[in-house]
C-alpha cells in the first residue's frame, strides 16, 4: 500500500497514543509517589558502593542516590581557613574563651557514625563524624547556675541555632571538625560545624563560630521559619522518620 494512498486525517484518525501515554505517565507518577520511598532506598543501596569510588561525582547526580543537598541562606558559601577560624565561647560561663582550630583538635576526640536526616526527606546513611563533645567544651568554660539554653552562631552572619542545656550535654551532640573521613568542606559547613545526631539536619549548624550560654530560649534561623525548636528525628515537624543509629566512641 503506497503512502500517498492513505486518506488519514491528522488529528482525527490514527491511534490515540497521546491520551494513553499521558494517562500512563500520570499513573506512573502516582505509583512512584506511593512506592518511591522503597525504591529510593534500593537505589541508594545499589549506588553507595559506586559513589564511594566514583571520582567524577556523576553518580551523585542520579536521583535517589543517598547524597547531601547543600543549603546556604546567604548569597554564597562562607569560606574560612582553619588557621583563621575562631570559636567564641561566652555568655553565662565562668571562663569565656576564644578557641583556635588547634585548641579543638588537642581536646579528646570523639568519632560517631550516624545518618544525616533532613527535615525535607532526604537522608544520607552512615556518615562518619569526628570532633569533640559539646559537653566537654561547656565543662571547659564552666557553665554558671541558672543557664538553660545555648545560642549557636555561624560566620555566615545569618544562620543561628538553639539547644537546651540538656540536649547540648548529650554524648551524640558534637562540635565536628571532620566528616566523611576528611576535613569538612565549606559546602558542608567547614572548617567546624555542629552535629546533633538525634535531630533533623537544620539543628546541625554549619560554619560554627560562636556558642553563647543563656538563661532563655532564642529560636534559631529555621525555627523562625516555622520548623520545630525541639527537632527530634521522627518525633517532630510532623514526621515519623526512623531515628538514626549512632555508633562509635
Amino acid at each position: 500500500m503506497g503512502a500517498r494512498a492513505d486518506r488519514e486525517v491528522e488529528g482525527r484518525d490514527g491511534t490515540p497514543v497521546g491520551r494513553r501515554a499521558v494517562l500512563g505517565l500520570l499513573g506512573l507518577g502516582t505509583a512512584g509517589v506511593l512506592v518511591g520511598a522503597r525504591v529510593q532506598d534500593k537505589v541508594a543501596e545499589g549506588l553507595a558502593p559506586i559513589s564511594a569510588i566514583d571520582p567524577t561525582g556523576l553518580s551523585d547526580l542520579v536521583p535517589g542516590a543517598g547524597r547531601f543537598r547543600i543549603y546556604t541562606v546567604t548569597g554564597d558559601l562562607p569560606e574560612m581557613a582553619r588557621s583563621a577560624w575562631r570559636l567564641r565561647l561566652g555568655g553565662l560561663v565562668d571562663r569565656p574563651d576564644t578557641l583556635t582550630f588547634a585548641d579543638l583538635t588537642e581536646m579528646e576526640p570523639v568519632g560517631l557514625t550516624a545518618d544525616f536526616q533532613c527535615v525535607t526527606g532526604w537522608r544520607v546513611a552512615d556518615v562518619p563524624w569526628k570532633g569533640v563533645r559539646l559537653s566537654d567544651l561547656l565543662d571547659r568554660a564552666g557553665v554558671q547556675p541558672g543557664a538553660t539554653h545555648l545560642r549557636l552562631t555561624s560566620f555566615d552572619g545569618v544562620y543561628t541555632e538553639s539547644l537546651t542545656m540538656e540536649q547540648a550535654r548529650r554524648p551524640d551532640v558534637i562540635v565536628a571538625y571532620e566528616m566523611l573521613g576528611g576535613a569538612i568542606t565549606k559546602a558542608h559547613g567547614g572548617p567546624v560545624r555542629l552535629y546533633v545526631a538525634p535531630m533533623y539536619g537544620y539543628k546541625s549548624l554549619k560554619w560554627l563560630d560562636g556558642i553563647e550560654v543563656t538563661d532563655h530560649l532564642e529560636p534559631g534561623y529555621w525555627e523562625h521559619l516555622g520548623y520545630d525548636v525541639d527537632a527530634w528525628v521522627g518525633r517532630s515537624n510532623g514526621r515519623d522518620d526512623e531515628p538514626p543509629e549512632v555508633s562509635g566512641s
Binding site: 492513505d6 488529528g11 512512584g32 543537598r69 547543600i70 546567604t74 554564597d76 525535607t120 515519623d240
Partner: protein
C-alpha cells in the same frame, strides 16, 4: 487591527502554523519551565547551590513559577482562544500509519512519508512533556505542603520529582536543540507563519490539507517565499492578502470539545 489568523489556513504564500494564543502560551510556558529548571538545578546540584546561595529566594522563585504553570493552559483552554491549541493537541495526540513508519525510517524528510503538521518525534516529545508537567506539578505541591502529607508520600514525591527533573530536562533540551536546527520552525513559533514551500518539503500532509492539494503529483505551486523576518505577523495578515478559506477538515475539528 486585523482578524486573528486561524491556524491551518493560507495567508498569501504562507501557512498559519500557530495562532496568537498558541504562541503566547508557548513562550509564557517556556519562560516558566526554564525558570523552574534553572532554579530546580540550583537546589538540586550541590555545586550550583553553593555558587548561587540565596536558598529562600531560589525556592520562592521555583514555587511561584510552578504554581503559575497551569494558568496559561487554563486560560487558553477555558477561554475562547483555545481553538488552535485544541486542534493541535488532537494532531499531536494521534499517530497515523505514517507516524509509525517514521520511527523506522532513516531518511524521513525526502522519502515517501507524508508527515503531517507535526512529525512523530515532535508528537512523542509533546506527549511526554504533557504527561510530565502535571506529574511535576502534583509532586511539587506535595513537596511544598509537605506537612500535610504522610512521610512515605513525601519521600515518594521527592523521588518522582527528582526523576521527573532529569526526564523533563532531557525532553526540553531535545526540543530546544531540534528547534535551533530548524530556523523556519523557530520563526513559525515567533510569528505564527511558515512558508508554503517549507511546509511542502517537511510537512507535506499538512501542506496539502491546508492548500487543498490531495496528492503531491502536481507541480510545486508554492510561491517564492520571502526571507523569514521581513514580514511581521500583522503585516502578513493584511486583509488585502486575504485569509484562505477554511480547510475541508475545519468543520470536523470545530466539533472538538
Amino acid at each position: 487591527m486585523t482578524a486573528p489568523a486561524r491556524v491551518d489556513t493560507l495567508v498569501g504564500d504562507r501557512l498559519v502554523r500557530f495562532d496568537r494564543a498558541e504562541r503566547w502560551l508557548h513562550w509564557i510556558n517556556a519562560t516558566l519551565v526554564l525558570v523552574l529548571i534553572a532554579t530546580g538545578s540550583i537546589m538540586y546540584i550541590g555545586a550550583l547551590s553553593g555558587l548561587v546561595g540565596r536558598r529562600l529566594l531560589v525556592r520562592d522563585l521555583h514555587v511561584w513559577s510552578g504554581l503559575l504553570l497551569p494558568i496559561p493552559f487554563l486560560a487558553v483552554v477555558l477561554g475562547r482562544w483555545g481553538r488552535g491549541f485544541r486542534s493541535d493537541c488532537a494532531r499531536l495526540g494521534r499517530f497515523l500509519t505514517d507516524d509509525w513508519r517514521w520511527f523506522r525510517r532513516r531518511e524521513r524528510r525526502f522519502g515517501d512519508l507524508r508527515v503531517g503538521k507535526f512529525n512523530a518525534g515532535q508528537k512523542v516529545n509533546a506527549i511526554l512533556v504533557a504527561g510530565a508537567l502535571p506529574v511535576m506539578f502534583g509532586t511539587g505541591l506535595v513537596l511544598h505542603w509537605a506537612r500535610s502529607f504522610p512521610e512515605g508520600i513525601r519521600t515518594g514525591a521527592t523521588f518522582v520529582h527528582d526523576w521527573g527533573y532529569v526526564a523533563l530536562g532531557l525532553l526540553v533540551a531535545g526540543h530546544i536543540v531540534k528547534a535551533m536546527a530548524d530556523p523556519v520552525a523557530l520563526h513559525a513559533m515567533r510569528t505564527g507563519l511558515a512558508p508554503a514551500r517549507w511546509a511542502k518539503a517537511t510537512h507535506p500532509r499538512w501542506h496539502d490539507e491546508v492548500v487543498g492539494e490531495p496528492t503531491a503529483d502536481e507541480p510545486d505551486e508554492a510561491v517564492d517565499h520571502a526571507e523569514p523576518g521581513d514580514h511581521d505577523h500583522e503585516g502578513a495578515l493584511d486583509p488585502a492578502g486575504g485569509v484562505a478559506s477554511p480547510t475541508p477538515y475545519d468543520g470536523a475539528r470545530s466539533d472538538q470539545p
